[in-house]
């Protein structure tokens, strides 16, 4: 883990107010894995007080990217950063996706900004794995395709692709996936992850999901980010330390 005051290379605005912040940070770019995250201090002052957690979106050499939208005050400040500014980054943090293991096909399921961690994951798979991306959003505006491959799209209002949620789309398209050895990598709203969990269990597919939770520290000292263990319901995991990526069977969403 490092605390780095890292220079912003540039701030790219994709369509629909989605931002890609490119940051020069060899220490972290060299170490971080897909699904791990960074805890970013958006202002030097005391407001906003806490850091803001962001998944690593991609890595190119000495640079990492994060992807975000303007959600509140912190992301607003981040959206105004440009080349030359510096940001205070804490990372790499947490447990990312497990790229090893015995699977040939990676099924990527992303809901809205849940797309954020996948460009890096897909880059790491390269040609080694067959990849199917199922991308969902409320409307076409919420569908983020950046860095995706072999894409199927679902929107709740049908304004783009399949009309319905991404899990329904996945269910209907599962037959397309020939391989016996497929694994799901997911990130998105809790409702989606809940539906995905039962889907994965029903079809006994191995499934890892990146989860979210309000955080203070991001590295295990505040106990602020619990997620209940499925096997021992009297126990909580910490999203920031034991996650944010969990085998979806291990947690109660």
């Amino acid at each position: 883990m490092f605390i780095v005051n890292a220079p912003v290379e540039k701030n790219i605005e994709l369509d629909n107010q989605i931002y890609l912040l490119k940051v020069h940070c060899p220490e972290i770019a060299g170490k971080i894995n897909p699904g791990e995250f960074l805890n970013i201090r958006v202002s030097e002052g005391i407001h906003p007080l806490l850091r803001r957690p962001f998944s690593v979106c991609d890595v190119e050499g000495d640079y990492f990217y994060i992807m975000f939208n303007i959600y509140g005050e912190g992301t607003k400040i981040l959206s105004q950063k440009h080349g030359g500014d510096t940001i205070d980054v804490l990372g790499p943090l947490g447990r990312g996706f497990d790229l090893k293991g015995d699977f040939e096909t990676a099924i990527i399921v992303a809901g809205g900004l849940g797309a954020a961690p996948f460009p890096y994951l897909i880059r790491m798979f390269g040609e080694k794995k067959e990849i199917f991306c199922f991308v969902g959003g409320k409307t076409h505006k919420d569908v983020i395709l950046h860095g995706m491959k072999n894409i199927s799209i679902a929107t709740d209002d049908g304004s783009l692709g399949y009309k319905g949620n991404v899990i329904q789309l996945l269910t209907e398209n599962l037959k397309l996936i020939k391989s016996e050895k497929a694994k799901i990598f997911a990130c998105g709203p809790n409702a989606m992850l809940r539906a995905l969990k039962s889907f994965a269990i029903k079809n006994n597919l191995n499934c890892e999901a990146s989860t979210e939770c309000a955080m203070a520290c991001g590295f295990g000292i505040c106990m602020g980010c619990p997620v209940e263990s499925a096997k021992e319901p009297d126990k909580y995991f910490l999203v920031c330390k034991d996650g944010p990526v969990f085998n979806i069977a291990d947690i109660n969403l």
Binding site: M1, R41, I46, L50, A216, G220, C222, G224, D234
Partner: protein, 304 residues
């Protein structure tokens, strides 16, 4: 000129006045990746209870203006696990270990103390009285002078080490509590624990915290904490450990001027895990420049 940074908190000698506050550094492991714990005056552990506690469901954390609310629900590994799993790690460091104890009955406070006091790596106890008293229908021990007196006396009797009582700020006259702690033989008080607060999501109309209420910490509460430390120092002859909203070396000096013999850093650890060592260095630099020979001379040095 080199400043003598060591301070005395009653019977407890610290190499410097910087302590890490309970619940804001767990049991020291994670933060040790960012700072050399040997440099710090001491670590106060996350509150320990007799049995492990699961803690509250999420959401446990809410950011507020210049502060944060937490409702962790005293999640902790329990006394036994602490001794087995956490003490061995802490043994590696030359720093004071202050064991913070939380309980729901006076008996549980005593029970925890008896078990922990056997461990020689533990240098002192900090008693968190900001806990609901199950026998009193969940009313906080910390808001009741009699209860705090009773806890102090009984824990002190069971302890072979210094006992610090961590006072609740959610009272009218905190010095009354410091007074009873002194009368019952307590060695020092920590002031303050968090202020009770809440926050709502105006669209769902639900409290943001699953627990509804949480504890307010961070810079927002610093003026309140300073007033409480000053009130104790002016009214009761007992060492005070100042806690609440410290972000930099200036805040540390301010607390010492107000009457603190030592201080604890809490929320700042989340924002900058290396803050404690930075602050320590800044304090050393300042003391040199200002020609302060012993930092302990700062304590209660206000001119009123």
């Amino acid at each position: 000129m080199k400043t003598d940074l060591s301070v005395q908190v009653g019977p407890l000698k610290l190499k410097n006045p910087i302590l890490l506050a309970s619940g804001t550094v767990g049991y020291g492991n994670e933060i040790s990746g960012f700072i050399d714990l040997n440099k710090i005056g001491g670590i106060v552990t996350k509150s320990l209870s007799l049995k492990p506690r699961k803690g509250n469901p999420p959401q446990r954390i809410v950011e507020t203006p210049a502060g944060m609310l937490n409702a962790i629900g005293l999640q902790n590994v329990g006394v036994e696990e602490f001794l087995k799993q956490k003490i061995p790690f802490l043994k590696k460091f030359d720093t004071k270990i202050i064991c913070n104890i939380a309980a729901s009955t006076i008996e549980e406070y005593v029970e925890c103390t008896k078990i922990l006091t056997e461990e020689e790596k533990i240098d002192a106890f900090e008693i968190n009285v900001s806990c609901p008293n199950v026998k009193e229908g969940g009313l906080q021990f910390g808001n009741n002078v009699k209860a705090v007196g009773k806890i102090t006396g009984k824990v002190k009797a069971a302890a072979s080490k210094p006992v610090i009582i961590k006072l609740s700020p959610n009272v009218s006259y905190i010095s009354e509590f410091a007074k009873v702690v002194k009368e019952e033989g307590g060695d020092a008080v920590s002031a303050i624990n968090t202020l009770v607060g809440t926050s709502f999501n105006i669209f769902t109309r639900k409290p943001k915290l699953h627990n509804i209420n949480g504890g307010l910490s961070g810079p927002a509460i610093k003026p309140v904490a300073l007033a409480k430390v000053l009130e104790i120092h002016r009214n009761v002859d007992i060492p005070v450990i100042g806690v609440g909203g410290i972000m930099d070396w200036k805040d540390v000096i301010e607390f010492m001027i107000a009457g603190a013999s030592a201080v604890q850093l809490g929320t700042v650890n989340f924002i900058d895990p290396s803050a404690s060592c930075k602050i320590l260095k800044d304090i050393e630099d300042y003391c040199c420049k200002a020609g302060v020979e012993k930092i302990s001379s700062m304590t209660g040095s206000y001119i009123i």
